[in-house]
Symmetry: C2
Subunit: 404 residues, 2 copies
C-alpha cells in the first residue's frame, strides 16, 4: 500500500539541509521530532537523526530499532544510551566534534523539542551548542518533490470524495457532529490516520471543522480564521452538537492525512438560501481567490498576497469580518501544507522570501459574521514554473440543498 | 451538555499546587500547555496561567480572550504583548517579583513547553529563573476529584458501548481499519473529540488500536506494550488494512476523550478459537490483573505492582513476551489516566510514592507473540480509601464469535 520516494530523493532532502547549514555555519543538525525524522529517513520510530554538514547522516534509534531498520533509508543504529549520546556522536563524527574543540554549533528543531529534553541534551552532548534550526528545517520542507506533490494530490481526491458523501448526507436538523462523523468515516476508510499533524504548540486538528451558523463564527484559540464551537471547553473547536438549520451558512473545512501527507480545503454549503449579505461576502472570498491565483507564481512575496487580500476585503467594506472577526482575527491568508498543516511559507506579513516552484499552499479567504456564520473557500495550490495549479479537486461553488 | 466542577474545586486544585510549590521553594508557576491551563481554569484558550505561591492566579490570554473570559473560573486578563509579559507579571505580582530582587524561582511545564518558547520566555521575563515543575504538576493532577472520577466513568460507559458495536460488526475478512472505523463512529457520536491526549513528546493516539494476529505484534515507537502495524511508516501504529482472520487474537485496545477526560481499556477477541498457548498467556494476564487488584490500595508503591507482575509472568515462562517482545518491551504495567492518557503514577520502577485515594490507573497486562499476535486485558481502576474499584464496565472475557 505504502509507496516510498525514489532513492535519490532522500539524498536530495539531506543535501538541501546541508547547504542551508553550511550557509549559517552549523556543523550538524539534530532532528528530534517524529515528522522531521520521517522526512529525512522514511521512518518515524523514537530516536534522533543527526545530519553532519558534510557526509552521511545517522538515525539513532531507541525504539523500535527493528522497525526503523526495516523502514529507514539512512544509516540506522541503536541509540546506546541517552547519557552517553554525546560520546556516541563524537566517536561516529570525529570531523564534526574534533577532540580539541570545546563546543560546536549544532542546529536542532527547538520550535517543537520540549525544553526539558533540550536541557537534558545540553548535558548529554556537552560539546554541542544547540542553536535553533527550526527555520532552516521549515524552509527545506517548503519545496515539495514530485513524489510529495503526488501524495498531496491523492489526499485531495480522497477529501473530495468525502465531501460528496457529506453533502449527500446533509439534512436539516442533523447536528454538526453527525455530519462530521459521516465525513470522518469516509476519510478513515480511505486511509486518513485520524489526525492532521500540526506543528504549532497546543494546536490540535483531527479532520478540520464542520460548523454551521453562529457556532462556526465563535472565536477560538485555534490558529485559523474559523475554529468552531466544539463539544466542550476541553475541546473548544471543530464540530458541536448544534443542529444544522435552513438558510444558514455551513462551513465544511476538512482535510486528511494519508501516507503522511495532508490536504486542507473549505467549501460553504447551505440548506435553502443564504442572505444577500452572506452571498456578497462569499463572492468577495472568491474574488480574493481569483486575484491570489494570478499572484501565486515564482517570485511573488508571500506577504503580498495577504496585503492584497486585505485591500480587496477593505474595498468590499468587510475588513472587520476578514479571517475571523474583530480582535479574534488571524493575520494571514494561507499557509504551506505537506507533512504538517501549518508549514511554510505563511501568506502573512514578514514572509518576504519569494515563492518557488514546488511549494504547496492552502489559500483560505473567509469572512466571519458573529451570531450568523462563516462563509469562504479554501484551495490548496502547487506553485509551478510559471504560475500555479490547484491540487484541490472539489468543484468550487456553494453546495446548496433545497429546504423542505 | 458540558458540566463544570463545583466552584470550590478550582480553588482546591490551585491550593494543592501552591502547597507543593511552597515545599520546593518556587515563588510562582507558569503553565503553558493547553491541558494544564484547562485543569486550573476550565478554559483552553491560548495564553499562560500564572499561579503565585500565595494568592490568586491570573490567566493571561492571547486568543480568544472573549471565549476564555466566558469559560474561565480564575481571573482572566489580556496578555498585552509577549515582549512585555515580564513587566505585566511584575506589575500584577509585586510580592512575587519585588523590584530589588534579581531573579525569582518560577516553575514551568518544561516537559511539554517547546525549547524555543522557553528561551523566549527567559528573555521576556528576565526576573524569573524558570525551573522544571513538570513533576509537581503531574503529582497534583494524579489525584482526581469526585467530578473527575464521574467524567472518567462516563467515558468508560461510552467505550463499553462502542466495544459492543465493534463486536457486533466483527466478521472474518474485514480489515482492522474497517472494524476501527465502526468503533470510532460510535465514539465520535457519543462525544469523543477524536484524540486521546498524550503528554509524551512525539506520541499520538486517536482511539487506540484494533489489530489482529501478526500486525498487532509488530514492534512500534508507541510507548505502550502493543502499538500495531498502522497504515504507513508515516503513521506507524494502530489499525492497518490487514484482514482479520479466524483463530487469531484480535486486540481491541480502545479509549475516548469525552468532556476532556479519557478512558483506556483492552479486550481480546477471536473469530473461532485461539491456540492453547495463547489461551494460557491470556489466563496469565488475568491472573496478573487479579493479583494487581489486591495491591491497588492506598499505601502500595506503584513499582511493586510492576515487580510482582514480572514475577507472575516469569513463573509462567512468559517473561520475554510480557509487555511487548524482547528488546521492544516497555517497562511498566500501567499508567495514571485523566485529562491525558499517560498520567502519573506509572506502574514502573522508580515510582515509589504510595498510591492515594482518588488516583485513576489503567492496568494493562499483555503478552506479545511475534508473528502470531497479542493477548491481554486492560482495566482502569479508581483507588479508594480501602482498595480499588474498576471504572471500566465492559465484561472481562474473551469476546469470541463463531467461525463460519
Amino acid at each position: 500500500m505504502h509507496i516510498d520516494p525514489p532513492r535519490e530523493e532522500w539524498l536530495n532532502r539531506q543535501q538541501r539541509l546541508q547547504e542551508r547549514m553550511a550557509q549559517v555555519g552549523l556543523q550538524g543538525c539534530l532532528v528530534s521530532q517524529n515528522v522531521g525524522i520521517y522526512y529525512f529517513t522514511g521512518s518515524m520510530q523514537t530516536g534522533y537523526l543527526f545530519v553532519p554538514v558534510d557526509g552521511t547522516p545517522t538515525y539513532y534509534v531507541r525504539r523500535s530499532l527493528a522497525r526503523a531498520q526495516a523502514e529507514s533509508h539512512v544509516r540506522t543504529e541503536e541509540l546506546i544510551s541517552f547519557r552517553t549520546f554525546g560520546q556516541q556522536l563524537a566517536t561516529d563524527y570525529p570531523e564534526v566534534f574534533p577532540p580539541e574543540t570545546k563546543t560546536v554549533a549544532i542546529g536542532a528543531d527547538l520550535d517543537v523539542m520540549p525544553a526539558q529534553l533540550y536541557l537534558r541534551l545540553t548535558e548529554a552532548i556537552p560539546q554541542a551548542s544547540l542553536k535553533d534550526a527550526s527555520a532552516l528545517l521549515r524552509i527545506v520542507r517548503s519545496v515539495k518533490s514530485a513524489f510529495e506533490i503526488e501524495r498531496i494530490s491523492n489526499a485531495a481526491a480522497i477529501v473530495a470524495k468525502a465531501l460528496e458523501s457529506g453533502i449527500d448526507a446533509l439534512k436539516e436538523g442533523m447536528t454538526e457532529l453527525e455530519l462530521m462523523t459521516v465525513i470522518e468515516g469516509e476519510l478513515r476508510r480511505d486511509g486518513h490516520i485520524g489526525l492532521m499533524r500540526m506543528r504549532g504548540y497546543n494546536q490540535e486538528i483531527m479532520t478540520g471543522v464542520v460548523a454551521a451558523g453562529d457556532a462556526a463564527a465563535e472565536p477560538t484559540y485555534f490558529d485559523g480564521p474559523a475554529g468552531g464551537r466544539g463539544l466542550t471547553p476541553a475541546g473548544p473547536q471543530s464540530s458541536s452538537r448544534r443542529p444544522i438549520r435552513r438558510n444558514e451558512p455551513i462551513l465544511i473545512d476538512i482535510g486528511c492525512c494519508v501516507d503522511g501527507y495532508t490536504i486542507d480545503q473549505t467549501r460553504t454549503a447551505v440548506i435553502g438560501e443564504m442572505s444577500t449579505e452572506l452571498l456578497a461576502a462569499y463572492e468577495t472570498a472568491t474574488a480574493i481567490m481569483r486575484h491570489s491565483e494570478k499572484q501565486l507564481r515564482p517570485g511573488t512575496a508571500p506577504e503580498q498576497l495577504y496585503a492584497e487580500a486585505l485591500r480587496i476585503a477593505e474595498a468590499a467594506g468587510l475588513s472587520e469580518h476578514f479571517m475571523g472577526f474583530g480582535r479574534d482575527q488571524v493575520k494571514f491568508l494561507g499557509h504551506g501544507i505537506g507533512l504538517e498543516i501549518d508549514e511554510w511559507p505563511v501568506l502573512a506579513r514578514g514572509f518576504r522570501d519569494p515563492l518557488e516552484p514546488g511549494m504547496t499552499i492552502a489559500v483560505e479567504p473567509k469572512f466571519t459574521f458573529p451570531g450568523v456564520g462563516v462563509v469562504g473557500v479554501e484551495n490548496t495550490y502547487l506553485i509551478t514554473e510559471t504560475g500555479c495549479r490547484p491540487l484541490t479537486v472539489s468543484p468550487e461553488r456553494i453546495y446548496s440543498k433545497p429546504a423542505r
